[in-house]
Symmetry: C2
Subunit: 326 residues, 2 copies
Amino acid sequence: MANIKDVARKAGCGIATVSRVINKSGYVKTETREKIEKVIKALNYQPNEIARSMTLQKNHIIAFILPNSQHLFFGELLYHVEEELFNYGYKLMLCNSSEQLEKEIIYLDMLKNNRVDGLILLTNNDVEKYLNKSLPIVSFDRLFDDVPLVASDNYQGGVLAAKEFLEKGCKKLMFIGDDAQGDFTDVITDVSKRRIGFIDYLNSQGIYDIVNLEYPLKNYFVSSEQFEHLLNPYPDTDGIFCISDSVAFTVIKVLEAQGKQVPEDVKIIGYDGGRTFNNLGKKITSINQEPKLIAKAIRKLLLNFDINDGNKKIIVPVKLSKGDTT
Amino acid sequence: MANIKDVARKAGCGIATVSRVINKSGYVKTETREKIEKVIKALNYQPNEIARSMTLQKNHIIAFILPNSQHLFFGELLYHVEEELFNYGYKLMLCNSSEQLEKEIIYLDMLKNNRVDGLILLTNNDVEKYLNKSLPIVSFDRLFDDVPLVASDNYQGGVLAAKEFLEKGCKKLMFIGDDAQGDFTDVITDVSKRRIGFIDYLNSQGIYDIVNLEYPLKNYFVSSEQFEHLLNPYPDTDGIFCISDSVAFTVIKVLEAQGKQVPEDVKIIGYDGGRTFNNLGKKITSINQEPKLIAKAIRKLLLNFDINDGNKKIIVPVKLSKGDTT
């Protein structure tokens, strides 16, 4: 399906000009207008999305509830979701929940009462009973009844990490993650497959001696001291797969404070893509989930909505992104 | 002015419960309800913002146009603006412009045609003529006619940087920034005061031999090679004040690649607060502008709107945040 950007590119003009032609507002040279109309026909572009969003009949607003837009991966995902929706004539309402169920409920209430056309949901809380399932909903990474899912290929991510450690000669492997079902939540997340894929692959290679560290969700601001406490009983570990880059970052800091060298003594793999900002040191080796592809998948499920159906899912491929920690 | 959070804190309950009391929706124990009503009275809380946002009469949506929510400082500002607006019953529409004038125009058009209650504008483009000034508007860092301004104390930031270099014994100082009025823009930004404050203070101390490197706005994705080219004619520089942490980051990388030690050979100060993510190395010394205070200032000007007036401004204080590069 062509979007306004495709039309602009093909017509050799800007998207604002295409917008003016579609909405019959503002001045456009006759020559340019005819060219754009030709391209619209050729690409079979359906401009009604943009056109309708200009009217008051529908808001064409999609709400995105996420824990924290400051998180580097979530922030990138947010950026691409906004861009993707924009290209299809939708606007994005940002709903940072700070992981607070109460804030999510207030947002979900607001959404029920306002004319919002859809919802993207990224939460660790069990908001099942607060969802208005007559609206198009897409969930990222968390499983809800009758709600379409987009996730990165978390299982394959675990497999890729295991392969990298074995290639690098690691013997004593560890997984460390916050995907355990703790006291705080009973939500099921697709993220646990990172752990499962990792352990499955190692088992398939005859390796069963794996340290499997779990701590409950919601504790994801684990302090350096707590990590030290978690790691201390396993001094001969030489490879640690961390459920996220944030965890990997803290683990590396703890190990280095203990005088260990990364990657010489211990190799580390994170998850999210090794994204950094103003990083003046090592780059984390990481499983890269691609926010742009995920944003496209979310848009597809959301805008081609017929009915909420938990069987609908798009699993987005991942890659190993080599950094300095393996 | 008390907000819903203050009420919840004082009443010892969650904000969702306060919301239910205000909106007379959902179950709340009589005892709790009475307590909340008492607190509302005691704090003189005006719950009509939240209450009205729950109806369809007004959208209570504020649009935030910014270049890129992935930028670490902008992302933090976005987070705090969303939280601040939420506490006052408003929702945030995220409008990433990617610095494209065309995308900004489309968003400004959408905003004109939709019932958006206000606009926060962070742009380097001259969008003056596209603004609907009958709406409440607040601009961050950029000056527009008749539009209220919020900025950090950029001048004082420059002074603080100069003082730090002199305290550390630097002799050959440089400013490097992208605040020049180039071919690409004729927008005036408050950010230039970083340069002015820096040079003014050095002059006041009898120092006039300052290398003042400018490159035009919009070129802010300057490559390492280009920075090398800029820096090469000044090999004896021992202190560089960079207009942003991103610039500081690239400058440090370039210097280190040339075999120079930071801070031993050259001291570096950035601007934005030395924010990092997954930073496994040095932390940049930086002038810290506080996103939470800036978000509060924006909310104040926006929600107490009577008329757009360029004389209205709030200048938010800054601090030097000591890192490892001075």
